[in-house]
């Protein structure tokens, strides 16, 4: 049973003005939030973790997604699997959120014991005729994309994930995620609807006024601008960036580093976008001085100025892959007005904090940027909840990718509501 009015939401979707922000209800209504969880988060591939978080047999990680919780665990056969974090006995959570080291998966309540393949191995006092074979943990669809772990809570996950993996793996492989480790994780709760978090991420219109740190390595005009409005100085900047992008792509591609744009944000269930973007200054990394933060390079990358490969997936992730470190972001809605943004900084697994990198230097750009974005999202959440709010138009130059996110979201919602 759905706890929302399908017809009412269908009407709201139907009357949305293209290339405009959404009506207030999309950001503030608990019913639409419930529909979002059903239509989007329970049916699409979600980025939730990195394979290096479960490097060895027995390493497990529990991730909460809405009312669901998923256990990711590496078995004795070195395979990574995902299961619903629900005991088949009376439903208790097997693991609390976060990492764990397990022998078998054991319910703390009555010690029902599951192998790392999900099979029920032990359950006491269940009498004759008790069929363990029927009571294994329920699997969750899981895909590793060169080390990025995606799960889908649906029993019928979108099958285009294989194609995304095929296209993305050459881009991601040089960074060798399997030989990284998480140097730092930051969980930030933003007081805004999850769509505001994504919208904010899909444009850099707001970067110049708000992100003094991020715009040191990142070109603010990398995601579009209106040329007629730029000053001569800004125009020179934009041209410099365009030239740099072209020459960099040529150089990277020639060196076997896939770099050119692939964009399928709104034309498939597993929408995504990738491109290797040049960075300003030394072009090495997203740091305050644009230099590599970590002395140990990732994977096969020997060109220090390898820029930042950016990779977005609908509906909940964006990442930056650099020569020395990787920053991954996953978005988990908590309710209609609160969203968890989980940021992970990955370095080579052999890199030692204090010797090969300074954690503050590694994390400062995105810690500052996340904080600024959280404030922007909260401001917007307050504003769109104001009765005076009327949806405004997106910039055709700088907010085209916001519109693509919206197109994707509304199409998926519509597909679900019928």
């Amino acid at each position: 049973m759905t706890n929302y009015d399908i017809a009412a939401i269908r009407d709201l979707v139907a009357r949305r003005r293209p290339r405009h922000a959404l009506e207030s209800a999309f950001y503030t209504s608990p019913e639409i939030f419930a529909a979002d969880m059903d239509a989007i988060f329970n049916r699409h591939w979600l980025y939730v973790a990195v394979e290096c978080e479960v490097p060895e047999p027995g390493d497990a990680l529990a991730v909460d997604i809405g009312k669901s919780s998923v256990i990711i665990v590496r078995g004795d056969d070195a395979q990574v699997r995902a299961f619903h974090n629900v005991c088949r006995h009376r439903g208790a959570r097997l693991l609390p959120p976060g990492p764990a080291l397990v022998g078998n998966l054991v319910c703390p309540y009555h010690a029902w014991t599951y192998g790392l393949d999900g099979a029920l191995k032990f359950a006491e006092h269940m009498g004759d005729g008790f069929d363990r074979a029927c009571l294994g943990l329920r699997p969750v669809a899981l895909r590793s994309m060169a080390g990025l772990l995606f799960v889908c809570l649906s029993d019928d996950p979108p099958d285009d994930i294989d194609d995304v993996v095929r296209q993305m793996e050459p881009y991601l492989a040089p960074h060798d995620l399997k030989n990284t480790r998480v140097a730092h994780t930051a969980d930030l709760i933003e007081y805004g609807n999850w769509k505001l978090v994504l919208e904010n991420n899909r444009e850099c219109y707001h970067c110049m006024p708000n992100h003094p740190e991020l715009t040191i390595p990142l070109f603010a005009y990398g995601f579009g601008f209106a040329p007629e409005e730029l000053s001569a100085e800004d125009l020179a900047q934009a041209e410099r960036y365009e030239t740099l992008r072209r020459t960099s792509h040529d150089r990277w591609e020639a060196a076997g580093l896939p770099s050119r744009l692939i964009e399928h944000l709104d034309d498939r269930p597993t929408g995504f976008r990738t491109e290797r973007l040049p960075l300003d200054g030394s072009g090495e990394s997203q740091t305050m001085d644009t230099m590599a933060a970590c002395r140990v390079p990732l994977g096969t990358l020997r060109d220090k100025a390898a820029g930042g490969l950016h990779f977005w997936t609908q509906p909940n992730a964006w990442h930056h892959f650099m020569g020395d470190h990787v920053v991954t972001f996953s978005v988990i809605p908590l309710d209609e007005g609160r969203t968890l943004v989980r940021t992970k900084w990955l370095v080579h697994k052999d890199a030692v904090e204090g010797r090969d990198y300074d954690l503050e230097n590694l994390t400062s750009v995105w810690n500052a940027t996340n904080r600024q974005d959280a404030d922007l999202v909260e401001m917007t959440q307050r504003g769109v909840a104001d009765p005076a709010y009327v949806p405004g138009p997106y910039s055709p130059h700088t907010e085209g990718l916001v519109e693509k996110f919206m197109e994707w979201y509304l199409a998926r919602l519509k597909a679900h509501l019928g």
Binding site: E56, P57, G58, D76, L101, V102, G103, N104, V106, H110, A111, T113, G115, K121, F122, E124
Partner: protein, 360 residues
Amino acid sequence: MTDIDLPPFWDPESDDVLVCRAVRRQTHDVATFVLTAAQPRRFRYRPGQFMTFTVTIDGVEIHRCYTLSSSPSRPDSLAITVKRVPGGPVSNWLHDHLRPGMEIAALGPTGDFTLDLSHDAAPEKYLFLSAGSGITPVMSMARHLVDTRFDADAVFLHSARSPEDLIFARELAWMAEQAPSLRVRSICERDTPQNRWPGAMGRLDAALLAREVPDLRERRLFVCGPDGYRASARALAEQAGLDMARFHEESFDFGTLATQDPEIPAKIEALDAARHKVSFTRSRREIECGTDTPVLAAARAAGMRLPASCAKGMCGTCKCRLVSGTVEMKHDGGIRQREIDQGMILICCARPTSDLVIER
């Protein structure tokens, strides 16, 4: 009236075979074997004495001494009371093979650890102290005392591992009922989940002794039990100011007497060494655990309640940090090698190979 035609006395010079007449189970690992001579004989001995038995196991003759638990006041039969000992060849053979009707070669009785009641001496007060199967000679003494000096003032303090290990508990209670001047007290090191012990817990100590036997200095003491027990009883008696001429002790394993089989005391010592102390830091408990016993089983037997479930190394519920010591562990996936490397163990499937300190 003519004289009753009494059988002659057993004569070790000419008699050497006893016949098993009954086997009485005392506890889960202790049995009493009731013996008579092959021909009608009466037995004359002093309470506390032992006999040497010979059995042939796998073609090898083994001699073993057992104190008589029976009383010479009932002279028509003898009894020995034997505890099964892991690795104890004769004791286990008796348990497994000696059945009514079977014969067993025996020599004796002999021994100097005896309660000698002379008719003319002033009445004395007694204290019988025993631990485990060390109860047999003092039981013989107590029976004899009750049968022949029913008003003699005696205290019987017996120590056992648990209520399940109490030997002669019902008979002692019955004796105390019959002879008001006999007081019987049992002390258990611990109780078990199935068998809560309402009485004194722990080991014999000065406080307990002062409470139960305030007039200890006026008594003659007969002590039988393992070395440590006897040593501590001796120390307590000295502390209490007893004239040590009144202190009589006997090792129940006859380590010094078993010259016919020098391996036996060695084996018994090995068995003693094969038990390890296990201390639990948070529970503030200390238990003993045999090398063949999983720590969890020993802890449960000692009445501890520790979280556990599958008890076969699978679920990991009993995972603990091993602060010190070494164990042998055969698990079934309930723990990772990395956890073991970090000092964790599953106590359900870990057997001590040294004394242990466990964080729990």
